[in-house]
Amino acid sequence: MYGIFLSPIYIGAQELVLQKDSIITINLDEVILISARKALDYHRQPKPLSTLDEYLESSKKVDMVKRGAYAWEPTLNNMFSERLSVTIDGMRIFGACTDKMDPVTSYVDVSNLSKAHIASGQQGAEHGTTIGGAIDLELDRGNFKETGLYGGLETGFESNNQMSVVGAELNYSDSKFYVDTDIIYRKAENYVAGGDEEVQFSQFEKYNVSANGGYKIAEDRALTSSLIFDEARDVGYPALTMDVSLARAIIASIGFEQDNLWGSLRDWKSKIYFNKVTHVMDDTKRPDVPIHMDMPGWSDTYGFYSQALLKLKKHQFLFKADGYYNKSLAEMTMYPNDPNELPMFMLTWPDVRTANGGVYVEDELDLNGSFLKIATRMAVQNQNVADEFGLNSLRIFYPEMEKSKTRFLKSISGQWHKMWMPWHLNAGLSYGDRAPSVTEGYGFYLFNSFDNHDYIGDPGLANEKSMEANTKISWEKSKFKLTAEANFFHIKDYIIGEVDPSLSVMTIGADGVKIYKNLEYANLFNTSLDMEYAILPELKWSGLISYHLGKDNNQENIPFISPFAYRSSLQFNSRSFSAGLRITGAAKQVNYNPDFGEDQTQAYTVCSLTFGKTLNFNNDSMYAKFGVENIFDENYSTYTDWKNIPRMGRNFFLTLSYSIN
């Protein structure tokens, strides 16, 4: 009876409540709701058909690096992709662009997803090794709920870049079988920054189709599968020298779920998956390029995981084994201005094969009045340069370099939670390391337009090791909630590019060549204060201020560290009407590093206003949301805006969602 009650297949709602009780209290996880399965949830979405990037940006810990209007790169605790674990339903996937134009989050759309789980630091180690934390995007699925057939149509329009969005979904779910299908299409022209400044090459077009289903082969066993096809074309990157003609991903998985394994092991979930990413850069539409080039890249990943829970008296264990195999290949062909000369070819990612296998174990202990969560991940990772041409290229720099390199990766963390109502205290200590990314280890003359340098990897880099401490104190009463939190990362062998003056630039116009090096250490510090106050049951005010600092061992500033930032919002929700006023801003950047192409980012404040209304027709319902962003048409850029490209100016949006039940 106990087992059945807890089974995630049997009934979803109870499961969710239980998880909330047991996990949210200990984890400092942040969950961003993306899909609105119920009409009520619409209120919680500031902008229903916005891009996934905008959803993630609403997180307290995530900042988005913008190189254009599309495919923003998430950063967490001021750390970038290579220090994060970004997964889709626990599946590892890696972008195929050497210039980070295709973060993993660009290959899914909001129509595919139900939630984004954001975990800070080593608490994100469940899905893979990480330093800064993890973002896991949970796919939206029927999950054997008795909801029958239902569908929806959505459309949206944004005035600033004339973006139109059309989406449709059709789903069926009962206790034996479910299938979810959806399709979404977006097309946007150039956007206009504050003060009528058109940002050239900021257009994009993309579509995404997905289907996932589950079938119960027995009362306690189910087979699941998912398939996502995502393709973007004609994507402009105004901050870069190149655009993208094609970015395509196929993401597929087959899973098996069983309520009970042996003994007290339960909730056994296993999945095998593969994904294939193709990315083609294009500069043929740019005027005045010094030399035309083709830069395609490919990243294929095959992986699996299998996990089970074990609940003993005071313990709740999660055991997980996982592995993946990734092939990363990217090439560059440059066409000389003299048509009689042969094209110039190099491998920028030399077909690096990464094989990673690991085990993850966590235990949540009930210590009579406080909880302790201990988690560890042990992994072994091998990287092998499969292409002789690429290996010989790298051996120009590292004549003694081995073809293959194996690393052991470790993570251990402890997180303690104590309550003295209305006080909560969370404190954690952890250690984790990571291997260099393909770019850091094997990149060959990768141009970084931000600091205008070519970058070359070093396969002999040491693992980067992070020691992390975090604490969070909150005070919660029914109407008022105040949370103060801070984390500190001491990162040994911090990997960053350093100028090698002896090297000659490859990219025409570049200022120099940097080689990835291990710094002795770097320290990163993040702190924030978060307040919520329910003025009326329907009216809630929230505010957040945050401060960040990052220094290396010479007390030099680490690049891309947020200045003092704040946001404040007032949200009104009634049964059928909602309204929100939101202010976000940052102070002038004080700590920046010109050696990495940074300049001082000016202070800014932007305001937005939204209204939502739900209308019911018999069984069906329609939800309309209207809003205006950057009301005062401020021309601004933030510290994460690549080469200071300005953000969008005043923008009106309207979205309509019609759901058929």
Partner: protein, 287 residues
């Protein structure tokens, strides 16, 4: 077609010889045609013999370094002479004068006692009015023979400079030729070159113990250079200048050079700087 014919011919000869019973080291080592994989450049019939010239990779004589294999067939019985003594003298017949070029001796190869090997470095191609010929003087069966054959020397098909003839600051005329790489890779390549001085019109002795400084550049890529190159220094065993050449990508490379004598004086060539994009002494590669 020629190679097939000669292969069949040697095959028949081989059969005939293996069916004979005479033993001993004097026998031509003819189990297989040693030149089967080579390109026949010339077939010169004279004195009842046929002189065959082969190259390993090239289809003709080109300016720069040419490695050449020679063997002599006795037309009477279609056999090849063992350990022939062969000397050669290439001559350029110009409008106003004649001159020769750097060359090695022709020495019998270790693998095959019917085949002699050597190299010749043509500084210039022939044209409608000016041409190269080679005079071979060889001794077989105790008798010396001579023959002269006109050959067609062309510039390499890619038109890239693999040899250069220049006047040094010491008023000596030098010839510098690139031997390797013949098949350049995106990698650290071995680079090999040979240096000769022009003693007179007909004599080009080898120059030893100088240094050839190397600075490879891509003029099409803002004069991009590569790391971990090694200047060419004289290798007494190989009798050539050897160094390391890094090529970071395919395409057109200009190998800027500087020739320094044994005391370190620059005889030819300049450093590459922002103002000076190329040296007057250089080789070219495109792949």
């Amino acid at each position: 077609m020629k190679t097939i014919k000669s292969f069949i011919a040697t095959f028949i000869v081989a059969l005939a010889l293996t069916s004979c019973t005479s033993d001993g080291d004097d026998n031509p080592k003819m189990e297989e045609n040693p030149m089967a994989e080579f390109n026949l450049l010339a077939n010169i019939a004279a004195n009842g013999h046929t002189l065959e010239l082969y190259s390993e990779g090239k289809n003709g004589f080109t300016t720069g370094y040419n490695e050449i294999f020679v063997r002599i067939k006795d037309n009477a019985d279609e056999s090849y002479f063992i350990d022939p003594e062969i000397a050669w003298m290439p001559v350029m017949h110009m409008m106003s004068m004649n001159h020769s070029c750097p060359k090695s001796e022709l020495a019998i190869t270790e693998e095959h006692n019917t085949v002699a090997k050597g190299y010749v470095i043509f500084q210039m191609p022939g044209n409608a009015d000016e041409f190269w010929d080679i005079t071979f003087t060889y001794t077989v069966e105790g008798q010396e023979y001579t023959l002269t054959e006109t050959i067609d020397v062309t510039a390499p098909s890619d038109g890239k400079q693999k040899v250069t003839s220049f006047m040094g600051s010491d008023d000596v005329r030098y010839v510098l030729a690139m031997v390797e790489p013949t098949d350049p890779q995106v990698a650290i390549n071995d680079i090999q070159a040979m240096l000769f001085k022009m003693e007179n019109m007909m004599s080009f002795p080898r120059v030893e113990n100088y240094t050839v400084a190397l600075d490879p550049r891509m003029p099409g890529m803002g004069n991009h250079s590569s790391p971990n190159n090694l200047d060419l220094t004289y290798d007494n065993n190989a009798k050539s200048y050897n160094g390391k050449l890094s090529l970071t990508m395919t395409g057109y490379w200009k190998l800027n050079l500087k020739l320094l004598n044994a005391t370190g004086e620059v005889l030819k060539g300049e450093d590459i700087t922002d103002e000076n994009e190329a040296s007057t002494l250089y080789f070219e590669l495109e792949f």
